[in-house]
Every structure is written in structure tokens, then in C-alpha cells.
């Protein structure tokens, strides 16, 4: 069998079967990326790549392709460019994919995107010409066949395409079958939504094992009680277990020294995620960890050790 072509560090590590750690960068509503670039620099030594989000929650931010390009050029950190089908039709998406290639992006994560009605420009027209599965198919046609709608691209893109999955989804079987469609469309890796429930995660990962797509587990180490509470309240479909929230709350109420508080939050995260990750690794269900803890870069040095262990 011919060896699979790789176009990025992430692709290379996947093809070698090396366990990876990826991070996440969330550019904001600003044309100045210095804050995001600083975070990229801080996580760069510990991750193989970082996702760059595309107006999450449909709240408009700087364009993810431009941001990913600038982050890559300024810091050398490889990016996983997130692309939603919310804002562009197939013509726009194909054009962006070629543009991203020209700008040096080599990993794209195909997402549906939160509905326009959820965001800060709710009157905008929701596009959804393609969906997350047919966008994967488009990327694969462009990369593998060098064409769009069977029309040749002079210099086709060379990039890897990933998909999202939600182990928290209920009904789970519908989500598993959907992942089957994304695998059929040509997804090369899967990044999951944030998880806190080990049994449910195992059930889900076993359910999608048959599709043979490497999975990066989404985790969200919580920087503070406020962050944990906010995450629990505002991220749809993800709930932080009550006893976990309680532990974080106690740090806030019982410890006054800020440094001690920080250290304790870090410790609690490792106490929770270390056995979680190690159990899933032991079962051979994972290809990597995708850490979505934005603005919490100090966690990465130790997290990288946990992931390697």
C-alpha cells in the first residue's frame, strides 16, 4: 500500500501514529493579533499545532484564515484552520481553500458553525450551502483529484482535513452514524467536543472506532472557578460535573493567596484529566488530545508531560 501523503507536521505525526497534543487559539473582535500571537508563542513548544477558531458562537471575529496565516508566520506554530459552512457558499469555500493554501495553511477543520441567529449579527443570512460532511468532500476532491466539480485546479491545494464530533450527543447513535458519513467523506482526523464523562466517552469512542479515523479528545482544563462556571452555563450540551465544580469553588472560597489559588487550580486539572487521559490511551481509543483551554497557556508544559506519559 502506498504511504499516505503528508502535508503538515500534524499529518506527519498522524501517519507515524505518534500521540499528539493540539491547542486552541481564539482570535477576538480586533484587527490586532498581538494577544493571540503571544498565546501562540507560549503554547508553541508544547503542541504540534493549534486550532484557530472561525467566529465561534457566530460572534464575528477577525477572519480565521488571515489570523491562522499571521500566527503561523509570526510564531512558526502550525495552525489548524477552522472553517465553517455558515458564512460562505461552495464558491466562497473553494476560493478560501485555495487562498489558505497560498497562505501556507496545511490543516483545515470542517465545521458547520453556530447558527447566525445565535451571534451578534443575527440578521445575517445563514448560508449552509454545504454542511460539515460535504465540505470535507470538497477539500478531498480539491486535494486528491486536483479539481472542483471536476474542473481542474492549476495548482491544487495540499492540506489535511479534519472533522468535529460530539461524544456528549444524545441520541449518541445518531452522532456515531454521522461520524460514519464524515469518515466516508474523507475526514483524516477527528477532534471531539469537550468531555467530562469517562464512561460516555468510552462508549462513544468505541462506537466510532470502526470508521478508523484518528481521534483527538477535546478537553477543557478550567483556569478558575469563574471560567468553570461560565463554561458549564454557556456552552450548550456540555456540563461540568457538580462535584468538579464544587472542588473549583472551594479553591476560590478557601484560598486567598492568588499564586496558591493558581497552583491549586492547575493541580485540580491534572488530578482530573491525568487518569481520564491515561485510561483512554490505555484502551487505544485516542490518537491525541486537543486542549481547548483558551487563555490558559500556563497549563501546557505540564499537560504535555501528562499527554506523553
Amino acid at each position: 500500500m502506498a504511504e499516505k501523503k503528508t502535508y503538515s507536521k500534524l499529518g506527519e505525526m498522524l501517519s507515524k501514529g505518534e500521540f499528539v497534543l493540539t491547542g486552541e487559539l481564539e482570535p477576538e473582535k480586533t484587527c490586532d493579533l498581538s494577544h493571540t500571537i503571544q498565546e501562540a508563542r507560549e503554547m508553541a513548544p508544547y503542541v504540534v499545532a493549534a486550532n484557530v477558531t472561525d467566529s465561534p458562537l457566530a460572534i464575528v471575529t477577525i477572519n480565521s484564515m488571515a489570523a491562522a496565516h499571521i500566527i503561523q508566520s509570526e510564531t512558526g506554530l502550525e495552525c489548524v484552520w477552522q472553517l465553517t459552512v455558515r458564512d460562505c457558499n461552495k464558491i466562497g469555500l473553494a476560493g478560501q481553500i485555495m487562498g489558505a493554501q497560498a497562505l501556507g495553511l496545511r490543516n483545515v477543520l470542517s465545521l458547520t458553525g453556530d447558527h447566525t441567529a445565535m451571534g451578534d449579527i443575527p440578521e445575517a443570512k445563514p448560508v449552509f450551502d454545504l454542511d460539515s460532511a460535504t465540505l470535507i468532500k470538497l477539500v478531498r476532491e480539491m486535494v486528491d483529484k486536483g479539481s472542483i466539480n471536476e474542473n481542474e485546479i492549476k495548482h491544487p491545494p495540499t492540506m489535511h482535513v479534519g472533522a468535529a464530533a460530539n461524544p456528549n450527543a444524545d441520541p449518541m447513535e445518531a452522532e456515531i452514524l454521522k461520524i460514519g458519513r464524515k469518515a466516508e467523506a474523507g475526514a483524516e482526523f477527528i477532534q471531539t467536543q469537550v468531555v467530562y464523562d469517562l464512561d460516555m466517552t468510552i462508549e462513544f469512542l468505541k462506537g466510532i472506532q470502526k470508521y478508523k479515523v484518528p481521534v483527538f479528545l477535546g478537553i477543557f482544563p478550567m483556569k478558575s472557578y469563574g471560567m468553570a462556571k461560565g463554561f458549564d452555563t454557556f456552552v450548550p450540551g456540555v456540563s461540568v460535573p457538580k462535584e468538579v465544580l464544587e472542588r473549583w469553588k472551594r479553591v476560590k472560597t478557601d484560598i486567598t493567596d492568588k499564586k496558591e489559588q493558581r497552583d491549586m487550580y492547575d493541580q485540580l486539572n491534572f488530578d482530573f484529566f491525568k487518569p481520564f487521559i491515561s485510561e483512554l490511551k490505555k484502551k487505544g481509543l485516542l490518537a491525541g488530545i486537543h486542549c481547548m483551554a483558551v487563555h490558559y497557556t500556563r497549563i501546557f508544559p505540564k499537560l504535555a508531560d501528562v499527554v506523553k506519559a
Partner: protein, 223 residues
């Protein structure tokens, strides 16, 4: 099937009439769909007669018309209304958007300058549960998927009209749009296909919709 309409704010309609300097009108009220939606019919005509009188606009003639949207019916009814149509500053119709355009078309030859205004907003082609409860379940997209989706339409029940749902906005079978009050269309499809033993259809990767026929005025002409 009913074309579902809702009332425009009265002031919006009156402002349109004022801007167009309308002093007298012929009023047409739809006796079918709009009557069912309580935005037309006899009741609607009565309501608008009072509003217009208060505004000082004279009604030269009026009629409740079956199928305002049917050019043939509308042409016949205009003949019955006689010279008032010619004398009126404008026609006001208590109907859907099809009714407005039917009137414009029917009057086009004899009265090409006649203004036509509408009192309603057209919402959708509706399925009726009971009077006052209408649901959009078909968009008339021209390429029906229902044979493959267990009789539930993803184009209208999925807020994103996805071909390969559910998306990440589904939580406990509910849709992110509308604060998780409405069912996720793709979970409804999943449940139906499971019930009829056709999850193989749910597993199928579907191509994106073909919009190439949507860029022009669609017609069905077979004779």
C-alpha cells in the same frame, strides 16, 4: 395546504397608502387561505372597512374572492366589480403575496398604472394542526427528499437545512436556534428512520443540494 399569512401592523399599511396619496380603494379579501389565517375573508374585510373609514379613505367597492391567486377567478371578479376598479386610486388586498401578484397580472393589460397594496405578510406554505397553529414543513424546494428521510423534511425542520445532520447545535434532541425549544429535525429523522427500520438511509452521505435551478423564476408549465 394553506399559504400562511399574518397581519402587517396597521400603521405600516396606512403609511403606505398615505405615501401613495390614496383617497379611494377597491378592497379584495381572500376567502380561502387568508380567511383561515384570520387575515382576510369576511371578518378581515369588515375590520379593514372600519380602519379605512376612520382614515377617511373611501371604499368604492369590495369583494371576498375565492382564490385571489387564481388569475381566472380574479379576472372574473374584477369584471363583476365594474367601473370602480378603473376609478379607484389603488387596490388593497387582504391576501398573500400570490394574491397581490395575481391582481397586478390580471390588471396589467387594462389598468397598467393601477397600484396594488397588501395588508399581510406571507409566512410560508403551512401544515394545519388546527386554526391558529400552522407549521412550515415544506419549502417547495423542487427536489423532494421525503422518501429518504422517513417523511420528515430536513430543509424545513433543520434550522440550517443541512443534508447531513444533526449538527453540534443539537442538545438532547433540541435545536440551538430558538433556545432549545424546538426539536432537532435530524433527530426527528433519526427517530423515524429507526422506527421504520431504515437507519441505512440515515447513514447515507448526502450530496449538497443542487441550487442550479433556483436562480430563475420557477414555473410548472405542462400544456
Amino acid at each position: 395546504m394553506v399559504v400562511i399569512t399574518t397581519k402587517k401592523p396597521v400603521e405600516e399599511v396606512l403609511n403606505t397608502l398615505r405615501e401613495n396619496n390614496v383617497k379611494n380603494l377597491v378592497v379584495i379579501s381572500c376567502g380561502v387561505c387568508a380567511a383561515l389565517c384570520q387575515t382576510g375573508g369576511t371578518e378581515g374585510l369588515k375590520e379593514w372597512t372600519e380602519i379605512l373609514e376612520k382614515e377617511g379613505i373611501e371604499i368604492l367597492s369590495s369583494a371576498v374572492v375565492e382564490d385571489v391567486c387564481d388569475n381566472r377567478v380574479m379576472a372574473k371578479d374584477f369584471r363583476k366589480l365594474g367601473p370602480s376598479v378603473e376609478h379607484a386610486d389603488a387596490i388593497l388586498t387582504l391576501s398573500c403575496g400570490l394574491g397581490v401578484q395575481s391582481i397586478v397580472k390580471v390588471l396589467d393589460k387594462k389598468h397598467p398604472n393601477k397600484k396594488v397594496f397588501v395588508t399581510n405578510n406571507t409566512e410560508f406554505m403551512g401544515m394545519t394542526e388546527r386554526i391558529g397553529r400552522f407549521y412550515m414543513r415544506c419549502l417547495g424546494c423542487g427536489d423532494c427528499l421525503l422518501n429518504e428521510t422517513g417523511g420528515i423534511c430536513p430543509i424545513t425542520t433543520c434550522a440550517k437545512a443541512l443534508m447531513n445532520g444533526p449538527c453540534g447545535g443539537m442538545v438532547d434532541g433540541k435545536c440551538e436556534v430558538g433556545n432549545y425549544d424546538r426539536d432537532c429535525g435530524w433527530v426527528l429523522i433519526y427517530n423515524r428512520l429507526k422506527a421504520i427500520g431504515r437507519l441505512d438511509l440515515f447513514s447515507k452521505l448526502r450530496e449538497a443540494r443542487d441550487w442550479s435551478e433556483s436562480g430563475h423564476q420557477r414555473e410548472v408549465v405542462f400544456r
